[in-house]
Symmetry: C2
Subunit: 190 residues, 2 copies
């Protein structure tokens, strides 16, 4: 998506080979117009696939996922991060470890919002090692839902997440794929 | 706002005199169409006031705040919750204690996104004791911004938050004001 790639080049900051700051338009300050265009792009790519719900992981995925849900006329499910396991029969939970941050959390979904009849599109801001997306899929499969695909804003294509997901036959649609980064320099691949 | 009040009566669950569950359309599963209508309502109420930015507190406020920002053509700032103080010259921080939950967190704002020239509208999902809104205001004032007003989805009018805020001369616009609750029963006031 050219608009997003142009914006990353203009306002994103590559700190080093691994860390890209996009906090002026995605994470901390959010550009609603860009989020709407991203929602329209995902809605166009994933249309006519029988998708019943959009899911995202709190909190950076919420803005683009909400716009996607609005464009597709579907409910949005926010998978919640909790510091530790909660004992509750009505919750699905799975542990996600972030190699990037060196932290773990419990990803949580209330059983009443996803069923075996759901075909779910997952939207998230970043794809790097794929831990968050894999955790979200594990959680949705606990609810016996099927995964329609994964929509990502920014993919670090030099990390293994993309490969891990497409090797499972998933439709992974990343709007900006970064092939290489270094301080002050960002290179996209198609 | 009649649409929100009707929805609370239809899908909200009053657990007791204090706890209202709205997780099927606001917190956990989100209705994007309702969020858009809420954004339109806030945009109409707060128009022509020279507002420069919308601010909200992660993560339940993000959906209605994003739609408000989109309807008003303004950037959204997400105030981040962190478990403990981070030492960083570029961050404003303030401690918020939630009496409802009995927990504390550090509310955080990067100094580069708000300046003395900003006139900010705060959007949040709930107003009860007003700790979160007061913390957000404290943080925005550390950045020397001015507060244009506060837009709330659901106000527990029997708790002191509303009074605390309007006594400071603030424009507090709550879309659904609950005067009394008990298990299975919700009463609105105008």
């Amino acid at each position: 998506m050219k608009e997003l790639q142009d914006r990353i080049l203009k306002d994103g900051v590559a700190m080093n080979e691994d860390i890209l700051k996009v906090d002026s338009f995605i994470n901390h300050q959010v550009d609603p117009e860009l989020m709407l265009h991203i929602g329209q792009e995902f809605a166009a790519h994933f249309k006519d696939q029988g998708i019943t719900k959009i899911a995202t992981i709190e909190s950076s995925g919420i803005a683009p996922a909400l716009m996607t849900a609005q464009c597709m006329g579907l409910p949005l499910i926010i998978l919640k991060k909790q510091p530790s396991k909660v004992l509750n029969d009505n919750l699905y939970q799975t542990e996600v470890t972030s190699f990037t941050k060196g932290t773990s959390y419990e990803l949580t979904l209330s059983s009443k919002f996803i069923s075996e009849n759901d075909h779910v599109l997952i939207i998230d801001d970043f794809l790097a090692n794929g831990e968050a997306a894999t955790g979200a899929m594990r959680l949705l499969r606990k609810a016996h839902a099927t995964i329609a695909g994964i929509g990502i804003l920014i993919e670090k294509s030099f990390q293994p997440g993309h490969e891990k997901l497409i090797s499972q036959g998933l439709d992974v649609y990343s709007l900006a794929r970064i092939g290489h980064m270094e301080a002050g320099r960002i290179e996209f691949i198609e």
